[in-house]
Every structure is written in C-alpha cells, then in structure tokens.
Subunit: 358 residues, 2 copies
Amino acid sequence: MSGGKPLTYAGAGVDIEAGNEAVRRIKALVETTRRPEQLDGLGGFAGLMGLPAGLREPVLVSCTDGVGTKLLVAIALDRHDSVGIDLVAMNVNDLLCTGAQPLFLLDYIATGRLEPGKIEQLVAGVVAGCRQAGCALLGGETAELPGMYADGHYDLAATAVGVVERDEIWGPHRAEAGDAVLALPSSGLHSNGYSLARKALLSPEHGGLDLGDPLPGAGPDDPRSVGDALLEPTRIYEPAFAALRALDGAPVHAAAHITGGGLIENPPRALRDELAMEIDLSAVAQPAVLRAVAACGVARDELLRTFNCGIGMLLLVDPARADDALAACDAAGQPATPVGRVVPRSPGAAGVHINGLD
Amino acid sequence: MSGGKPLTYAGAGVDIEAGNEAVRRIKALVETTRRPEQLDGLGGFAGLMGLPAGLREPVLVSCTDGVGTKLLVAIALDRHDSVGIDLVAMNVNDLLCTGAQPLFLLDYIATGRLEPGKIEQLVAGVVAGCRQAGCALLGGETAELPGMYADGHYDLAATAVGVVERDEIWGPHRAEAGDAVLALPSSGLHSNGYSLARKALLSPEHGGLDLGDPLPGAGPDDPRSVGDALLEPTRIYEPAFAALRALDGAPVHAAAHITGGGLIENPPRALRDELAMEIDLSAVAQPAVLRAVAACGVARDELLRTFNCGIGMLLLVDPARADDALAACDAAGQPATPVGRVVPRSPGAAGVHINGLD
C-alpha cells in the first residue's frame, strides 16, 4: 500500500527539529521570568510552583484569553515581538480585578509551519509581559498543525494563575453606593475590537488606509503609522495594582478590566445588580487610533460597546481613600483619574451611565 | 470617509448574540463539573478556587496543551462531541505524572465564525472529560476570529491546574534502578501523530482510505470505520492515578505520559540521566488503528517515535509493591500490565530500550 518514499512525521509536515530549535531559543528568555516559589527538576511533564509564604487561606484565581484578530495586524506587518505582551495583559488584567497577585502563566502557540525565529519573537513578547506582570512563564505548548492555519498565520492563547487571601478578594460583594470610580488610562485599543477597527480603518469602502499610512489626526507629536498605532501593546496594570493591594485597610473594593464588550458590558461585572456606575469621559483622553476609527463612521454606541474608549481599568474605591489610591497609582508610575461614582440602580435601569464622549 | 451602511462589530464578522447564545447553552453543562472548593459570585473576570483541605505544603502543578490535527478528523466528520475529552486528557495526563490531583481546567476555543450548536458539542466533550478527571471547568474563552481560521475550522487549547503535597511529588528524583515499569493501555492513537496517521491512512499515494471505510485489520469484533477509530477519545487516567495516590507508603515513584514523541522521547522524561527503561511490548495489544497505520508504510522507528504504541501511561513503581499498584489500577477499572524495569544507564546510551514491536 505504501508509496516510494518512507512515511515520516517530518514528511507529514511536522518538523521536530524546528520545534527543538525553537525550544532552545526560548529557554534562556523564559528563565528571566523565574519566581522564587518555582520548583525545578521534578519532571518534564508539568510546571510546578509553590505558594507565596504567609497566606492564611489562599484562593487560586485563573483566567484564559487570547489576542484575537490583533494578530492579523502583527502578521501583516511581520512584527511578532509585541503581541505576546498583549497575550499576558489580556489574562493578567482580568486576574487583577479579583485582588489577586499573578503567579504564573502558560502560553499556547499554534501555527501551520513552525518557524523558530518567529516563535522566538512571540515568546520574547510573552516574557516581556510576564516580567511586567511579575509572573513566571511556567510552561507552554508550541503546536505545529499542518492544514489548520493559513500560511504564516498563528494563534496565541494563555492562562494566568494568581493567588489571593480568601477574605481579601475584591469584587461586586464589596462595591458600595458612593464608591469613587477611578480610571487607569489605556494605551490604545488594547486587544479588543480589532475586527471592527481593521474594517473601519483599512477596508476600501470605509477608511481605505494602509497599515503604513500616517495615523489620521495623530498630530505632529505622534507621527505613528496606522500599523504602529494598532500594534501598540496592551498596558499591564500590575504595577498600580501591586501598590493598591499594599494599601492599609483595603480601600479598593472592586475593579473592572475594560475588555471585550467595552465600557457598556464590563463596568457592571464589578457590581451587584442593585448598583450602577456613572462615568464621565470628559477627563479621559481618547487614543488617536480610536478617534480615527470613529471618523471612519463607527457610531458612539458601537464605540462604547466595542472599545475601551481610553480606559483600561476602572477601580471602585472607598471615597474617603480615593486620594490614597490615586497616590499609590502615581507612585507606581501608572497615574489614575477620577471619572465617576457608584450609585444605586433603579430596577430595569442600565448598570452604567456614560457621559462626555461626543 | 464612511460607506453607506453603519459600521458595527457584527458587520465586521463578530456575532455577539451568537456568543451569548453559546454561553447560555454551555452554562448548565459546566455546572456539572463543580468542585466543593469553588467560589462563586465574586466577580465575573476570573474563576476562583480554594485548595483542598488539609494540605501541609501545597505545590501547584500546571500544564497546557491542545488536540492537534485530530481536530481535522472531527471537522471532516462533523462530529465535535469527543475532541473535548481529548483536550482534557492531553492536559490532565501530563499533570498526573507529578502525583498531583487535578483541580480545574480552563479551555480556549477559537473559530472563524461562532456556531452555538458546535460550541455546545465541543464544551460537552470538555465537560465529559473534566468529569472523568475530577476537575472543575473553571473558565474559558470562546473567541470568534474572522479571517484567522478556514471555514468550519477551529482550534482548542486548555490549561489544567492541580495540586500536590510538596514532599509527595512524583518524578525523576524518586525513580530508582530496579523499579517495576507498569503500562496503562491506550485507547488508540490518543491525540498524537495525527498528521502522520492521516497521511498514511488517507492520502491517495499511501493508504488511500476514506474516513467512512471499514478499518483494515480490525476484525469482525471491531467493525469500526477509519474515522471512528481515529476519533476514539484519549483515555483519562485519573481513576487509576487516584487509586495509586491513595496507596500507603508512596510506592509509585514516577510516571510517563506517552504523548508527543511517543515511546522514544517520553520514558526518559520520568528518569534522571543515569537511568534508563527497558520495555517489552510483547504483552501490549497494539490498537488496530496503529496496525493499519504501520501497514501503510510507516517504519518501526517512526512508529515508536510518533505514537503511543498501545501504552497511554507508564508507571515506575517500587518492585516490592508492584502487585499493590496493579491491584489498585484493577480496582479503579483501568488494569495495568507489567512491561519492564528501570536499569542503570551507561554514558551515551539511550534512556529507553524497546523490544517486542515487530
């Protein structure tokens, strides 16, 4: 039954040597994310991590997410060293909303044909993100899947795990009417809404731009291309959150990562049903790339429901301690801005009211 | 700049309502995997899980993996309810090798166009796998990524997290010359080597079979099609491992999941460099599908390096307690077979020696 050439795994499109070469390239990089709780030499099938000392009743916190079609921008530009930061950010920023400290992350890279240099770039981004987030890159999988991805395409996913003291968990159970709402600014579109943003900016019947064109409306102080602006890495808020977790008296009650679903769907995720958030965007700078997307004909409601509109993270804080929280964020190099407050919610009313985005 | 139709996320290929419908369908399924340590109602951004009571010095164990091109068989047959079991198995079987008990899993499903019925089938498989593994499906991401996957294609990845007492970790540090090697049989090809198996069986220049053809050499007691045999779910070994972890005196020293790299690369992962494994396959039944692949012209070395060759898991056990371990596996409904022993390794020699596969 067999043909002339012996059938091998390599002949079926799986290049084990390319896989081994990729592993060699990333090993030293990954080593720089090590945490002291990590255990080694205990077997090659899984990553092992002890818990930070001194926890009374640790609760594990875990999230999984990908980067979405932002990857298509990286692929089009053949620049793969920053989407790993996005990957870490999308996971860690979710995890931070519980008050947890990030411990470790595992990544999954899948592609049709394994190119070690590209894998190295991708992992370099993941490593940079893990260092910003203070978490170890504890493991991962690089899968070569002939026939499943278009030429040169890949997908990324990751899972982050953190830990929080059981009686210090942040969330809707702590949010109160009267809480101050502080915003940590986003760095751009982060990693949400790229199917819409790409269509608005790039499709001939809308923006008609190329990735290499100057970003419209960016001003002489920001001479970036459309592609640069779209690839801007998602901000990772661990520095601010580490400072906030360290404040005496637990003044932060809850947080909302402004991820998929934008400013409409995410704020209510930090609230019980009887509460709502009032947010005034007039003090929030809108990223130039968002203004460019809006100018291509995306309506206000769709902007609010799809994009972060300048806010990467909302913090719900004891109003008497808002200044302490602002000072902590400042000291961490990630300044926040007061943008609103938590109010009682009438039955049937929305969980968020937004003003100040024209 | 904008065209006639207002630009929306839905118009850009992302169907939020289909996403919400998929979430509704899977919610009740996921609920059946609940563990008592799980925490709820503490915010929508992450999954929360306490630790099992009574652990003195818990170590977290984590793995990430996908299903690989076995998915292309599921897609070709339009049967999506079992690859979720494979997904759990590929992760949990790695995790089990450390002696850890599985706690939770998070899944990532990515597709070009979200079909709620297909997502429900996929998650039903993940849930079935999690129930076999005793772990909670704590979270997940279903990503609709227009332009990244071919029509009808999807990818799956997952991360499993478990916990083990620090001084009870299994691994190379415990393996000893003289240890008995026991094998837990595989259910088929599991989820490795599918690029080669598909090429061998299905390509016109080799096997030339269709997925609907009877599996050659399967015999009248196994009237399965090629597609049925290729889709056979990966066995999840938690029942046997739970029984083995419960044995007094920790007779199991290490385990090797026979995953990518087959019987050549995986046994040494359970050993220090100065040890090797001798394995005799003559008592191990070769799955009919593997015999069919071999008959298409895949050489013995390539079989051993790519496929599990009938063995899903190897256990390295104190030889004085091998009968106890065999009895524990029997009682758990997953009988094991003695296949070899651990021996000293000469410098430069291979970490595994295999006899009995013709």
